[in-house]
């Protein structure tokens, strides 16, 4: 097996430069690569394009990168929890490309899977269709959407092994597996890193072929956005 281990987040992100295109796994704050985001915040980066379903909140996740003005452009499906984001967008400081969530997920999968374009019904008749090729198949109208790739993809898994195999937990899986396939360099941070051979090959969500660097993260906050409980 090919060993992918690096010591920590700082080493993992050392060659990320300004103006790169980055992907970040996560849905809201669930399953985001907290350690890599912190390590990127320590670097002097600007002009980044960030592909992420959401943009974090004002004081956590990608929101911190927005606050530090590292981000030139966001490619997301929903950015509703972030006042700084909204301010930068309305003032024109930040470019934003809003994409239907399923189209975003499929574009990333396609990018990693060598599929340059595909057709989807999402967005037909809306401003999302502007400038896109429209085509009818079997009486239904579809848009052509293109694959997405990134210079670096940052993903967060529950368990990983030294060969780069990843297992996610609960709904923290979300965009992480597709993004792992679409990064020229994919960096995985995991809660528990084990030697190759300890994970059941049948339980692996992301095969190690997609992961160039892996490390065991520290101090996960896993902030909850909507803490909802029942009386039991």
């Amino acid at each position: 097996m090919i060993t992918k281990t690096v010591t920590n987040a700082a080493e993992a992100v050392k060659d990320v430069v300004s103006d790169s295109v980055l992907m970040f796994g996560g849905f809201g704050l669930c399953g985001i690569p907290e350690n890599c985001i912190q390590a990127l915040l320590q670097k002097d980066l600007t002009g980044l394009t960030c592909i992420s379903n959401n943009a974090g909140v004002d004081d956590f996740g990608i929101g911190l990168m927005l606050k530090k003005r590292m981000v030139k452009k966001m490619i997301s499906s929903y950015v509703g929890e972030n006042a700084e984001f909204e301010r930068q967008l309305l003032s024109g400081e930040l470019e934003v490309d809003l994409i239907p969530q399923g189209t975003l997920a499929e574009r990333i999968r396609a990018g990693g899977a060598g599929i340059p374009a595909f057709f989807t019904p999402a967005g037909v008749g809306t401003e999302v269709a502007d400038g896109k090729e429209i085509r009818e198949f079997d009486g239904k109208i579809y848009l052509m959407e293109k694959g997405l790739r990134a210079d670096f993809a940052f993903v967060k898994a529950w368990k990983g092994d030294t060969a780069g195999n990843l297992i996610f937990k609960g709904t923290a899986r979300n965009f992480n597996p597709m993004m792992a396939t679409a990064g020229k360099i994919t960096i995985a941070e995991v809660e528990e890193l084990v030697p190759a051979g300890q994970l059941d090959p049948n339980h692996i969500h992301t095969p190690g072929i997609y992961v160039q660097r892996i490390f065991q993260g520290v101090d996960y906050e896993k902030r909850i956005e909507q803490r909802t409980v029942s009386k039991g």
Binding site: F27, G28, L29, C30, G31, N53, S76, S77, Y78, V79, G80, E81, E86, L89, L90, V96, L98, P100, Q101, G102, T103, L104, A105, E106, I108, R109, T120, P121, A122, G123, V124, G125, T126, E127, V128, W158, F168, K169, G170, T171, A172, R173, N174, F175, N176, P177, M178, H205, K222, R223, I224, E225, Q226, R227, T228, V229, S230, K231, G232
Partner: protein, 219 residues
Amino acid sequence: MLDKTQIAKRIAREVKNGQYINLGIGIPTLVANYIPENLEVVLQSENGLLGIGPFPTEDKIDPDLINAGKQTITMVKGSALFNSADSFAMIRGGHVHLTILGAMEVSENGDISNWKIPGKMVKGMGGAMDLVASAENIIVAMQHCSKDGQSKLLKECSLPITGIKCVKKIVTDLAVLDVLPEGGFKLLERAPGVTVEEIVSKTEGRLLVEGEIPEMVFD
């Protein structure tokens, strides 16, 4: 007039045995509480879960288990987890039978607007455009009029569109209406104490009223 709970209760009556259902944020989420217990249905969360359970008790909260509204949840027996591409493959492929979601406006041909107010609100469409372009049955839960009294059931949507010709039924605080395949709203039921005249006056789009319109009854 129906309150939010009653709108959810009324929509729950539309649920059929054996359905896989996606519930949007807000009133649609409440629908889960009123689905008759004798029905076997499964709730899908587009962030990667089939089989949403109730909110967790305090000791069972798991930050790695949330719904699409970012609320902490639990899983029922027989659940399955998957990634976002697989989730929308499921939605786009028509495997989810029913989508219930909120709207800012619905037009008489079934167009829906619920994702953007130009110059004011830029939250994004999330999964709504995929859902409305794919599900075979789409039910909208919303207030009949905006806060300043304008009808939200229109000839044409004034806000940016989320999807075209997709809404099949609307449950508002005043009424239950079908969107007819040929266009136009058909009044099916009225809220307790609400007259047909009031509904007519508050519906901008073409409204079809045929025969006696029954008043909804709640337990």
